[in-house]
Every structure is written in C-alpha cells, then in structure tokens.
Amino acid sequence: MMADNKNKTPILELRKLCRYFGGLKAVHEVDLVLEAHALNGLIGPNGSGKTTIFNVITGIYEPTAGEVIFDGQSIGGLNPYVINQMGIARTFQNIRLFPNLTVLDNVRIAYHPYAGYGMNDAVLHNGKFNQKERELTEKAQDFLRVFNLQDRQAEIAKNLPYGEQRRLEIARALASNPKVLLLDEPAAGMNPNEATNLMELIHFIRGKFDLTVLLIEHQMRVVMGICEKITVMDFGEVIARGTAQEVQRDKHVIEAYLGPGADELSKQYLKEKAK
C-alpha cells in the first residue's frame, strides 16, 4: 500500500560482497539492493551463506572484499554497535534475548544509546536521571503494548513461551530505532497458526515504524506470502532473484533445493498433472 508512493531509493546495498573463512567461500560476490520500505526475502538451502550476509551487514564479521552501503555510507567493517546506532537492527536465528533479565529490561537495553543522561547522573540518581529514566521506561512500556507483552513486563525473559520470546526479540530490535530490520528465520519452530500471526505482525510493524525489512526464512509459505522480492542463494552465490512466482519457476532454484535434474522432473510432473 504505502510502498508504492515512496521513491525507490536503495537504503541498503551490497556490492560484490565476499566473506571467506579460509578456503571456504561462505559469501561470494553477492550484489543485493534493498529499496526503502521494501519487504524482501532471502532464501536458500542450509549453509548457503544467508546468515553470514546478515553477520557482515551488522558488523559481526568484516567483509573479505566488497562493500556494504547503508544510506549512502560504506559501513563494512564498522563496529556492530555503531552500525546498530546508524539504523540497522536484527534478530537472531536461535533467539538471543538477555535471558535472565526482565522483559522490560530487554527492551530498555535497546534504548540505552538514547538514554539521555550521563554516568554521573546515574551514579547520583539526581533529578535529571529520574526524569529521563521515567521517560525511557514509559517508552519501553508503550513498545511492549504494541507487541501485546505489557502483562509480561516483570517476567524473566527465558521463562516466556517460545512465540513470545520471538515477539520480544523483534520488539527489542525495533526499540533500537532502526531504519532497516533484518529478521533471521523469525518463523522457525512456529506452527502454521503462529506463522500467520507473525506474517501479520511483520506487515503491521513495517507500516507503523516505516521500516525496510529483509528476512531469511525456510518456511516457504511465509516467504512467498509476504515478500515482495526474493533473492535465492546457493553455495554463497546469488542464483536467482525476482518475485515469488518468478523464483518458484526458476531452474536453478529448483535444482538447488531438489538436486540436479529436478527441473526436468518437475516439468514432467506438471505436464502429467495437466493431462
């Protein structure tokens, strides 16, 4: 809906990005353009380098070669916290909350760069501290309301049920005020019903927070259901890109997922089915 009125300037761009681990080319010369306010998908078989791309974008790994351009700036090799403060937030494949802290604190930590008071104010607990801390807490609580976690705010994060942990992780990522949100397999381990809710949630937050979303996902129903454009990777290289329909019919994609020769078989199958 809103995506159409936005001008299609790239907000995140990967140019010939490479990341090698010794002799292993985990990511090799990947080009990827993410337009502002897009909701794109990144798929591929296990070990094809999707999460490595996320790790390079967020600064956990340095790129071996190539460039990551965010908002017109090259961010390859910067510290992860700097990249986050510039406006890229992510979630993790295996949930990485702060397990022993409360739900509220999980979100408040993401606000830390915007705390607005110095360490001296914190140590003295003075008026400025009290005021800013109250503002920060209220903001965090508003956030929890959006994600329907407000009744859980005092709970320890690791005690939450799985689906809520996923939601909390997305809430925490959004609390750091990003322009681009990278979701790494958000629907992993969810049943179809939960996955549907998640799809609605992703749509909702994209509109509400004016986000650009890139997601990695294995559940094809989710990817095909919400992604406008899909990039398919195999062995560290991009093998196809396009809309869901285009990608589904692509010869390379079918072979990457089902093995060599699968393309022929699937065509035969479709022919027989048509008869």
Binding site: Q85, P113, V123
Partner: protein, 416 residues
C-alpha cells in the same frame, strides 16, 4: 517527586543501626580489639568483593586479578601515609596525586585521538597509551616534587590530627585511582579475550604484582616498602567509622549504577555479548569501564587494609589469596550485592574468628580444612550461592507499574 522510597528509608535506618551498635559495643569494650579487627577486615573484603562482583557477577568477566589491584592500592596508600607520618613530607601525596591526575588526562586525550583512527589494532593502541602515560608520569614526578614543600608547609598549618586525616583519606582515594589507571592499561590488550583466557591473563597480573612487591626495595627503588621483609610503620588509621563510610558509599554507588541504563548495559554484556553489541551497546567501552570501576574499588579497599594492621607483606597478595574474593562472590551469589556483603562478613567472622576460637589449641591452622568443607557443603546445598539473585528491596531494581492509559483504541490494532 520528592517522595523517598520506603525501602530507602529502611536501608538507611538499618545501616545507621549497624554502625551505631558496632560503635557502641566497641567503645564499651564488649567487642574487643580482636573482633574489631575482624570486622574491619570483613568490611575491606566486602569492598574488594563488590568490585569483583561488578566485574564477574554483573559484567561476566572472569577475573583473578582483583588482588593485584588490591595490592597496588594498599602499597600506594601506605607509601603516602608512611611518608607523611614517618618522614614528615607530603612528597608521596603530591607525586601520586599528579600521577593520578596527569595519567587520567592523558588517557582521556589519547582515547579521543585513538577513536578517530579506524582499524587500529589493540597492541598499537596499547603501545601509544603506554608511551604517553610514561611521559605523563615522568612529568608528574617532577611536578609533584616541586610542590611537595609548599604543600607540606600548608598541611602543617592545620592541627596534626586533621592533617593526618586529610592525607589518609586522599591516600585511599589515590590508591583506588592508581589501581584503576593500571587496570585500564592492563585491560586494554586483554579485555578482548574470552572469559577463560581473560581469567588466566588477570591471574598473571596478580603474580606480576606479587613479584614486583617482593622486590620493591631493589627493583622499584622504594626503600620504605622493604620488599619481601614486609612494610612496617604505616599508621593504624582505619577504624570502624571509615570502613563503614567507604562500604556504605560503595553499596550506594553500585546500587545506583546498576539500576540505571548504564547498569543494564553492563549486565547485558554478561547475558549475551553478541546480542548486546547488535543492540547498540558499546561492548569494549563497558567492559573497560566495569573493569576500571571494579579495580578502583579494589585499590580503595587496599588503602583501607594497609591502615588496619599497619603492616603489609607481599604474601598477603599472593595469587592463592586472590581466590578469596572469588570464593566470596560465588558463595554469596553471582550478581547479588546483598550476597557479597553478607558473605564477606561471614567469611571473616567464620574463618578468622569463630573457627580460631572453636578449634582446640594447636589446631588453628585446621580452619583451612574445615572452611573448604563448609564451602563444599554449602555449594552442594545451594549451587547458586547463598542469595542467588536475591537483593534487598533497596538494591533490587523495581519494575515500574504500567500506567493505565486509555489504550483501548490502541489495543484494537494490536497484533496478538
């Protein structure tokens, strides 16, 4: 706004009661010198362990270097007061003062410069810091010697007791400051190490300090420290009042720090470093600052310790002893301020006090057998430590209640 929490009032009343009761009992001689010394040692140990708890319990850095910084603080403070009382000179005070100040300034300046260089590796940064800091120390020594005589004359104008007290308090704070600065420099190259390797590297620090102190008269040239023979002639100035003031301030400081956004940033690193850095937390900075604060507390406690017995020996700071604060922190509960303070007092009272009296004559050293057995039983019964995560209400961060705003229209668009 101006409302003071109930828990704060309870804490203040409780603290005042503890102070008054111990003070009266001591002045009535119901608590004799033996037990009073043990209480002082317990307070000192509580400050050291609180520092370690901040580093290990809250920040997740497994450090065995706490006693090294404790030793630095002890010897620094002792040297200052020794020079004042025995040599009647404020030279120690002024020199160390300028070392602390100039080093701090240079560190801040170099940090600003270094942060602009992209992709500088840690060792080169460390070399830069070291070179500049050494120059600053050289300048500080000259500057300190220059103003030593005027300052001595100035302090002599005051009544002797007051002057001594001023020197004593400044000495303790300077002890902490020097320990903090050393910890910054030492932490620079090693804070990038993972937790086990960090433990080994800090253990190495304790050993380095111990060896240096063993040879402090020959290698370092401090005749008054007397190397492995032990330093004597330090005025016994630490009393229950000072211990109480410093411990009280430490507890309030740690409580305020932890219950702020900065404290949450520190704890988030313990919880998950990768997630913290991905959430915009400057992990290297908070690791360093926690290590520095923890070492500052250790150095300060060292200064207090030096003036308890008036005697310092390098063996007090051997690496075997450096496990004491670690045991206290784990015993009291990792990440529990309440637990650490309780465990420190328990440790001193039981190990040095009760067991010494309970065990028959000639078997006093057996307390080192009884005490580990007690520890073992304790850890089997309560693997999370005495208090686990428990905090008294004053220290525990409260989860503020949700404001019941008119959210009904908002709720309708929420996604379940």
């Amino acid at each position: 706004m101006k409302k003071i929490n109930k828990s704060t009032i309870f804490f203040l009343i409780g603290a005042a009661l503890v102070y008054v009761i111990v003070q009266t009992l001591a002045s009535l001689k119901i608590i004799n010198t033996f037990w009073e010394t043990i209480l002082l040692l317990a307070g000192v140990m509580a400050i050291v362990s609180l520092g370690l708890n901040l580093i290990y319990g809250f920040n997740g850095q497994f450090s065995l270097g706490q006693y090294g910084f404790y030793a630095i603080g002890a010897y620094t403070a002792a040297d200052i007061t020794y020079r004042w009382t025995q040599l009647h000179s404020a030279e120690g005070l002024t020199v160390v003062f300028f070392i602390a100040i100039l080093t701090a300034i240079t560190i801040v300046v170099v940090q600003k410069a270094v942060s602009k260089i992209r992709g500088l590796d840690t060792l080169s940064a460390f070399a830069m810091y070291l070179a500049v800091v050494l120059a600053a120390i050289f300048a500080a020594v000259k500057l300190g010697q220059l103003v030593a005589n005027p300052i001595t004359a100035l302090l002599n104008l005051l009544p002797a007791k007051t002057a001594q007290m001023i020197v004593y308090v400044i000495a303790i704070i300077l002890g902490g400051a020097i320990a903090a600065e050393v910890s910054f420099l030492y932490g620079l190259p090693i804070l990038t190490l993972g937790s086990d390797y960090f433990g080994i590297a800090t253990l190495g620090f304790t050993i380095i300090v111990k060896v240096l102190l063993d040879n402090s008269d020959t290698m370092l040239g401090f005749q008054e420290m007397k190397g492995a023979r032990g330093m004597i002639g330090i005025p016994k100035l630490t009393n229950w009042t000072w211990i109480f003031i410093f411990l009280f301030l430490t507890i309030v400081f740690i409580r305020n720090l932890l219950n702020s956004s900065y404290g949450r940033a520190i704890v988030s690193i313990r919880e998950d470093e990768t997630a913290a850095t991905s959430m915009g937390i400057n992990v290297p900075f908070y690791k360093t600052i926690t290590f520095v604060i923890g070492s500052f507390l250790a150095g300060m406690a060292g200064g207090l310790y030096a003036h308890v017995n008036g005697f310092l020996h390098p063996n007090t700071f051997s690496f075997v002893k450096s496990f004491d604060p670690l045991i206290i922190v784990v015993f009291g509960g990792l990440g529990s301020v309440t637990g650490t303070v309780t465990a420190s007092f328990g440790w001193a009272l039981v190990l040095e006090g009760v067991l010494r009296l309970v065990l028959p004559d000639g078997f006093e050293t057996w307390r080192y057998v009884v005490y580990p057995i007690l520890l073992l039983i304790m850890m089997l019964l309560k693997p999370n430590g005495l208090f686990g995560n428990y905090e008294i209400p004053f220290i525990r961060s409260i989860v503020p209640p949700l404001k019941d705003k008119a959210n009904n229209e908002k709720k309708s668009e929420e996604v379940a």
